[in-house]
Every structure is written in structure tokens, then in C-alpha cells.
């Protein structure tokens, strides 16, 4: 187990540098004139460009720029954004609210999707099964870009049940509507995967054995079926964190939540290369760590899986 973790951590280092290099290269290729975005449609003088170049090194060759960036990264300094703010500060401000939002979204969607999926799986072909299928299809069909503003107008403006916009230090209730919406991104797949996994396992030999032994249905499902059915769901939830981050760009934009997605969107729009690259780098780390945790959880769930 220990050796496995070390090996994975080493792989993570490679993946991390590969991913950031790619992101950096993409931003670099896209960025023909980042300063222009700062002044809108006004021309920028030579002297101003020279001053900005001295600060951001955009006039250096690509590899030199990347080296500047990696050097900063290794010393824990993400540098400054084009709007002249410390990116470390921006990260520290943005992450807490996004973590709150994502956790809430994961918990709510997983709780509902898994329990509904289990019920649907046990009574395969029943009314509930069909009803959840319909709900899942609708959710898959409705993109968040359309759903989020709609929900904001209905529940925030017209009915007034939830706040229309959410601030950085929002309470749980304020975040409930954005989290529910964010959860819809992953809800449908989680539900369907749980359902089919449970349905499969219900027909497995070990379940028949357990039933034949005379175990109570509650115990058969609660211990034997669930434990085996949840392995694919856990992987899915791990992967879903990535989907949630892309959803966060929309939800945080609509609800004006100054989190990671909000900053990323702003950074991309303003061609703020340093900001985008730094935020994506941290996202890459988060994604890698979550995947490692998910893989380790397997071992706990399934004794047959051993990491050497």
C-alpha cells in the first residue's frame, strides 16, 4: 500500500507538470495581446507596453516565461494577475466558497441520486424506476446554462425563496439553490449508474445465497448489495468533481459567487494568463488528489483489491 501511494505521488508530479505545461502553452498561444484587454478599445502606448512587459515578462520567449512561472510555483508564489493582485490572495479568497459549494452539491446530489438509484434498482421496472428515468433524462437534456438563470428568476426573483446573489461569506442556506443546480450536472449519471449496478447485483449468486441463508432483506441489501454496488458510484463521484468545477463556472457566474469558477471565467474573458494558469494548476492538484483518494477507497470497499 505504501509503495503504491509513493508510486502514485510520483506519477502525480509528472501529470502535474505535463498538465500545467499544456495549459500554459494553450494560454500562450491564445494570447496575442493581453494588455489590450486591459484598456478596452483604446490604443496603448509604447511606454505602457514596455512597463507592463517588465512586470509580466510577456515579451520573453515561451520557455523563459514558463520557467519564470514554474520557479514561482515551486516557491509557492503564483505571481500577480494582470489586474495587479497577488494570485495567492485571490486563490485563498476563492477556494473556501467553492469548496463549500462543491461539497454541498456532491452531498445533496449523491444522497438523492444514490438512494433513488437503490430503490429504482431493487424494484426494477416499477413505476418509481420509470419515473426516475424520466427525471434523469430531463436533467441530462437541460443544460446548466439554461437551468441556472431560469431557477434564479423563478426561485430568487419571483418567489423570493432564495437570495438572488450570494456573497463570499455566504451561509449554507444561501448556497442551497446554487448547490442544487450544480448537483444536477452529476445527478442523472449517478442515479443511473447506481440503479443498474444495484439491479445487476440483485441477481448475483451471493445475493441468492444470502437470501437462502435466511438473512433479512434489509441486511442483504444494506450490507451485501450496497457495498458491491457502490464501487462504480464512488469512482463516478470522484470523476464528477471535475464536472462540478466546469459547472461552477456557470453557477458562480449566475449567482455572482466570487469563487474559483467565477475567477476562471473572468480570467479567460480578460485574457488574464497568469490568473488562469494558476487557478487551473490548483484545480489539477485537487483533481489528482481526489482521484488518489477514490482509488484508495476502493481497497477499503473491496477486500479483493490489493495495491502493491
Amino acid at each position: 500500500m505504501f509503495r503504491y501511494i509513493v508510486r502514485r505521488l510520483l506519477q502525480m508530479v509528472l501529470t502535474f507538470f505535463g498538465a500545467t505545461f499544456l495549459v500554459y502553452a494553450l494560454m500562450f498561444a491564445n494570447q496575442d495581446d493581453p494588455y489590450q484587454a486591459l484598456v478596452g478599445e483604446r490604443p496603448l502606448s509604447e511606454a505602457q507596453r514596455a512597463a507592463l512587459d517588465a512586470k509580466y515578462h510577456f515579451d520573453d520567449p515561451f520557455l523563459t516565461q514558463y520557467w519564470h512561472y514554474v520557479k514561482g510555483l515551486l516557491t509557492g508564489d503564483f505571481g500577480i494577475s494582470l489586474t495587479n493582485r497577488s494570485i495567492n490572495d485571490m486563490l485563498a479568497e476563492a477556494w473556501p466558497v467553492t469548496i463549500k459549494l462543491a461539497l454541498l452539491a456532491v452531498l445533496i446530489s449523491a444522497a438523492i441520486a444514490v438512494s433513488a438509484g437503490v430503490f429504482a434498482g431493487i424494484r426494477r421496472g416499477g413505476i418509481f424506476d420509470h419515473a426516475t428515468l424520466a427525471v434523469a433524462l430531463v436533467m441530462l437534456a437541460l443544460p446548466l446554462v439554461a437551468l441556472a438563470p431560469l431557477a434564479q428568476v423563478i426561485f430568487g426573483v419571483k418567489l423570493g425563496w432564495f437570495p438572488v446573489t450570494v456573497t463570499r461569506d455566504a451561509g449554507l442556506y444561501d448556497l442551497l439553490l446554487p448547490a442544487l443546480l450544480l448537483g444536477t450536472v452529476v445527478f442523472a449519471t449517478e442515479l443511473r449508474v447506481t440503479r443498474s449496478s444495484v439491479a445487476d447485483n440483485m441477481r448475483a449468486d451471493y445475493v441468492r445465497t444470502a437470501k437462502a441463508k435466511g438473512l433479512a432483506t434489509k441486511r442483504v441489501i444494506g450490507v451485501h448489495v450496497l457495498r458491491n454496488s457502490l464501487i462504480p458510484v464512488i469512482t463516478l463521484i470522484g470523476v464528477d468533481i471535475g464536472a462540478l468545477m466546469s459547472g461552477a463556472i456557470i453557477v458562480e457566474g449566475v449567482f455572482n459567487i466570487p469563487g474559483v469558477g467565477y475567477q476562471l471565467f473572468k480570467g479567460i474573458r480578460l485574457e488574464d494568463g497568469p490568473l488562469v494558469v494558476s487557478f487551473v494548476s490548483v484545480l489539477v492538484i485537487v483533481f489528482l488528489v481526489i482521484n488518489l483518494i477514490v482509488d484508495l477507497l476502493y481497497a477499503a470497499l473491496d477486500p479483493r483489491i490489493r495495491y502493491e
Partner: protein, 544 residues
């Protein structure tokens, strides 16, 4: 069961994380804390240092923190505010500014001539990279504060500029200083109404010519409000009244500048009553705005000018007759009514009528919709058989470009296509290389309310935004004569005759003038917006 413990741990950890985050959070709305205060929506400013502000968000906040030398009346003529008097010599070259005595910054420091001189020198000094530095370029000695990179993109660093202070700024006594311009300019008083000409207090400086790092987070100004706490990035900037302010006293006790990224979100907050003023109603909400807001949905003129430029380097559009014909094929009224739902107005002049001396219809017949005459003129002058209009895809221009093309097609009977490039920079790069882009869209909004601010940058041969390469020496001379005229009234005469030349030459096709399209909540009243798209913070009041 060995499998149970990680589950329990995970659930426990999640519960603790949620509880912790939930407990630390509070949903209290700080805006309510200040009695008699209002909230106005803005976008996150890029900076709050006056010489670095070129967008309305920052400009709007600064207007509450600083007291300008001049403000503008309804006819956009300047009148002194923080200045007691502004006088000039016969040649408009040496301007003497006397500031009102007794004024202080919000930290108690008296406002002196040095505060202005130091701030302007800082803004103009090239290596500081201040975005609004071009405002100082008329002052004598500005060029000495700039340096040029010797090998452009190469490894050599730009040398240090010759001087750190502009020779044109001189202190006379504690409350008087003179500004010497490199060439006489009748409209200098108007220029000084911009944000870049605010003073900075002694407390702003870490050492001579170096601003304190944290100054921009809570600028200390000489205005009616001061920042409460600091700038809460991407959230809000709260300002509260300065006790015993000597100038015009605003009616509200505080303003919360609420920061939004998305205009539609901001609009929803306005309708829900969480925001008092939205200064720009998004196009998507225009159709429902009068229903949602009733008489709280307002419009007022602003300085924006949208036009389509003719590439002067392209032989196809060489004939002014062709350019006039295309202009006459456009039904501007239909475009502003149907595409912009009345949020913009048709442009029939080359200078926005909001500035002093500008006329509404200076373009004359050439900007009137007349498809029959347009077709005759076009065929006679031998216009091209296909017209291309290039625009940047990131600005939401597609609907009106398509509409314009359709109008051209039906009026002139030639094919018209809209071509996109990703960004405006890409468009301008193509134009610079004289590529075949056909017609292309541009826009302008003024820095100071003078006709010269349109004529100079847009149409003179060395104008900073004359990308299309229009050149007419008679025009250049008239604009320059206007700038050097002894009085603004005389200057306007020169400028008007200059604009008449434009109507003959048609270097661009005027399309639309923009308006402030704004709305407010029931809590506030007397909401007005000026030509710079700023809410008048002195007039706005709480509804009784």
C-alpha cells in the same frame, strides 16, 4: 466490519467540513448596516489608482472618493469645483490653477498644489505603466518621462527615462500651480475633469514617486466619501460620508458599490430589490424592463459613438460617392428600434451631439435613409459587387451587422457578407497590414466633452484611433487651428468646419450614438447619469 470505518470517517469528515463552513459563514448584508445608504452595481474595477483607471467601474467609485477640479454642466461646459479659478494666457499654453483653500483629504491632510503635481508626475512616468497616462501627454515635458524599448521585443531592457517630473508643472504657492502645455489648447480645462487629474495625499506615498502598495485598496481622496474598511474584491466597495466635507454635500450617507460580473444577474438583483441602481440594463432584459421597473426604467444620452469604417487603402472604396451611397442605404432608425430596442439612437453626425458645439445632423443627406438615391449613386460611381463587413466576434455585434447587410442587399442590390475575427485586436492587426477586410466596425467614447476629442483621435492623419488611414490636410489644419484658438467658442467654429469636411469625404459611416439605459429600485429617487456613464452621486436621494 472492516469496510465500515472509512465510510464513517468520510461521512464524519464531510459533516464536520460542512458544519465548520456553515458556522463560519454569515449571511448578514453589510449594506443595511449604514443607515440612509444606497447600493449601485459596478463591474470589478481593474484599479482604484486615479491615473490607472480607464473603465467606468473604477471611475464611478473614484467619483465618490475624489473631488474633481472641474465638473460639467448640462451643456457639457466645465465649471470649477475643487478649483477656485482656472485661468490661461493668450496662447492657451500656460494655465494657472488656484485650488479652493480649506479643503482636506479624508485623513485630515490639507489639499495643496503639491498633491496635484506629485500625482500627475507619477501617472505620466512611463515605467509606472499607468493606463491613463495619455491624458498627461499635452503637458510640457511628458515625452521626457517616457522611454522606448531599443529592440522592441528583444532582450534589452528599456532605458530609464530622461526625467521623473514634467517640466510643465510648477508650484506657485501652497494652493496655486501652473500647467504649461507643449502646444496651446483651448479645451484644457475640460480635459482636467478626468479621473487622472485627481490629487493624491502625502499618505499615499511610500517614498518620493513610489505609491504605497496598499493605497489602491482603500484610496484616501479629497471627495465627499471615504472607503469604509477596504475594497472587498469581487464583492463590494463601501464608502461613507466624510464628516464636515467643504464641498457639495451628497444627500445619501453612504454608497455600497456592489460588484457584479454578469449584467443579467445584476438585473435580477435589481428587480428583486437587493440593488438600488443598475447603470446598464442588459439587452436581453430590455424587452421586459419597462414591465419590471415601470417609470424606474430610464434613459439618458451618453458619449458612445458606433460607426463602420471604410478602409482608405482599398481602391474599391476610394470614391466618396460609393461611401455616401452605402451610408444612404442604411436605415439607422430601423436598426436602433428593432435590434437595440431603442437603447441606442441613430447617428447622423461624426461627433456625438452631447458635446458642446456639436450638431445633430452634420452628416446631412449622406446619413439619411434613401434607398433609391443610394442605388443610383452607387451604380453611377461603380461600387464593388460585393461588400464585406468585418467585426470582432466577442462583442455581440452579429445581429446588427446582419441587419445592416440585409439593408445593403435590398437597397443596393449587391451581395453583402459579415466576416468575423475573434477579437478587435485581430481586426486591427489585419487593418494595419492592409488586408482585405472590407468595411469594419469600431466604436468610440469620449475622454473629455469637446468636439476635438472625437475629431482628433478618430479623423486626423496622426489620430491615435484613425486605423482606417483617413488623410486630409485641410481637415488636420482646421482641427489644429481649433485647438489653438483663444476661446472655446472660436475653437468650436473651426471644429464645425472640420466636421463639414468629413461629411464630404465620408471616411466612416456613422451609425449609432449610445445612451445610458439604467434602472433603479423604489428605495431611491433622483437618479441621473452623466455623459461618462456615471451616476450623479450628489443628486441621488432616498425616496421618502
Amino acid at each position: 466490519m472492516p469496510g465500515k470505518s472509512p465510510w464513517k470517517m468520510a461521512a464524519g469528515a464531510a459533516a464536520i467540513a460542512l458544519l465548520a463552513s456553515g458556522c463560519s459563514g454569515s449571511s448578514s448584508d453589510d449594506a443595511e448596516a449604514l443607515p440612509n445608504s444606497i447600493s449601485i452595481g459596478i463591474v470589478e474595477p481593474t484599479s482604484l489608482i486615479p491615473s490607472n483607471v480607464v473603465e467606468t467601474g473604477g471611475s464611478q467609485v473614484l467619483a465618490s472618493l475624489f473631488y474633481p477640479l472641474v465638473r460639467f454642466d448640462e451643456k457639457s461646459a466645465p465649471y470649477p469645483v475643487a478649483a477656485q479659478s482656472i485661468t490661461h494666457d493668450k496662447a492657451n499654453k500656460v494655465w494657472t490653477i488656484k485650488i479652493k483653500p480649506g479643503f482636506t483629504f479624508s485623513n485630515g491632510e490639507p489639499v495643496t498644489a503639491d498633491n496635484y503635481i506629485d500625482a500627475w508626475n507619477y501617472g505620466a512616468y512611463g515605467p509606472n505603466g499607468q493606463l491613463a497616462s495619455y491624458f498627461y501627454s499635452r503637458i510640457q515635458g511628458f515625452a521626457d518621462l517616457q522611454s522606448k524599448d531599443p529592440d522592441d521585443d528583444g532582450p534589452q531592457e528599456a532605458p530609464e527615462p530622461k526625467a521623473k517630473k514634467m517640466s510643465g508643472l510648477k508650484k506657485v504657492n501652497a494652493t496655486t500651480f501652473t500647467v504649461t502645455l507643449s502646444a496651446g489648447f483651448a479645451g484644457w480645462e475640460s480635459v482636467m475633469g478626468y479621473d487622472a487629474f485627481y490629487p493624491l495625499p502625502k499618505a499615499a506615498w511610500a517614498s518620493e514617486g513610489v505609491l504605497k502598495k496598499e493605497y489602491g485598496e482603500a484610496p484616501i481622496g479629497n471627495g465627499p466619501f471615504k472607503v469604509k474598511g477596504t475594497w472587498q474584491h469581487d464583492q463590494q466597495i463601501q464608502v461613507e460620508k466624510v464628516a464636515d466635507f467643504k464641498g457639495t454635500i451628497p444627500k445619501v450617507n453612504g454608497i455600497t458599490w456592489k460588484i457584479y460580473q454578469d449584467l443579467t444577474t445584476q438585473y435580477n438583483d435589481l428587480v428583486a430589490g437587493n440593488l438600488d441602481v443598475e447603470t446598464q440594463i442588459p439587452v436581453e432584459s430590455l424587452s421586459s424592463a419597462s414591465g419590471d421597473l415601470g417609470d424606474r426604467f430610464l434613459k439618458s444620452p451618453s458619449s458612445g459613438f458606433a460607426f463602420v469604417a471604410f478602409p482608405m487603402y482599398d481602391d474599391k472604396y476610394k470614391s466618396p460617392q460609393v461611401r455616401r451611397a452605402i451610408s444612404m442605404a442604411i436605415n439607422r432608425q430601423e436598426m436602433t428600434d428593432q435590434i437595440f430596442l431603442g437603447s441606442e439612437t441613430p447617428a447622423t453626425a461624426f461627433v456625438s451631439p452631447v458635446v458642446q458645439g456639436a450638431r445633430k445632423d452634420s452628416c446631412g443627406q449622406a446619413c439619411e435613409y434613401n434607398p433609391t438615391k443610394a442605388k443610383q449613386l452607387y451604380t453611377a460611381a461603380g461600387g464593388p459587387s460585393e461588400i464585406k463587413i468585418t467585426y470582432n466576434a466577442d462583442g455581440g455585434h452579429k445581429p446588427w451587422i446582419d441587419a445592416m447587410c440585409n439593408q445593403i442587399k435590398s437597397a443596393l442590390g449587391v451581395n453583402c457578407v459579415g466576416a468575423t475575427v475573434p477579437k478587435l485586436t485581430d481586426l486591427l492587426a489585419k487593418v494595419r497590414n492592409h488586408e482585405d477586410v472590407g468595411l469594419f466596425r469600431l466604436a468610440w467614447s469620449m475622454d473629455y466633452p469637446l468636439m476635438e476629442n472625437y475629431l482628433g483621435p478618430l479623423y486626423t492623419s496622426d489620430g491615435s484611433s484613425n486605423y482606417y488611414g483617413y488623410k486630409n490636410t485641410a481637415f488636420d489644419t482646421l482641427v489644429r487651428q481649433g485647438s489653438e484658438a483663444p476661446t472655446v467658442a472660436q475653437a468650436q467654429q473651426y471644429w464645425q468646419s472640420a466636421e463639414n469636411i468629413l461629411a464630404q469625404d465620408m471616411p466612416v459611416l456613422p451609425l449609432r450614438f449610445s445612451q445610458n439605459v439604467f434602472g433603479h429600485s423604489e428605495r431611491v429617487t433622483d437618479v441621473t447619469m452623466d455623459l461618462f456613464a456615471k451616476v450623479d452621486i450628489y443628486k441621488i436621494d432616498i425616496a421618502s
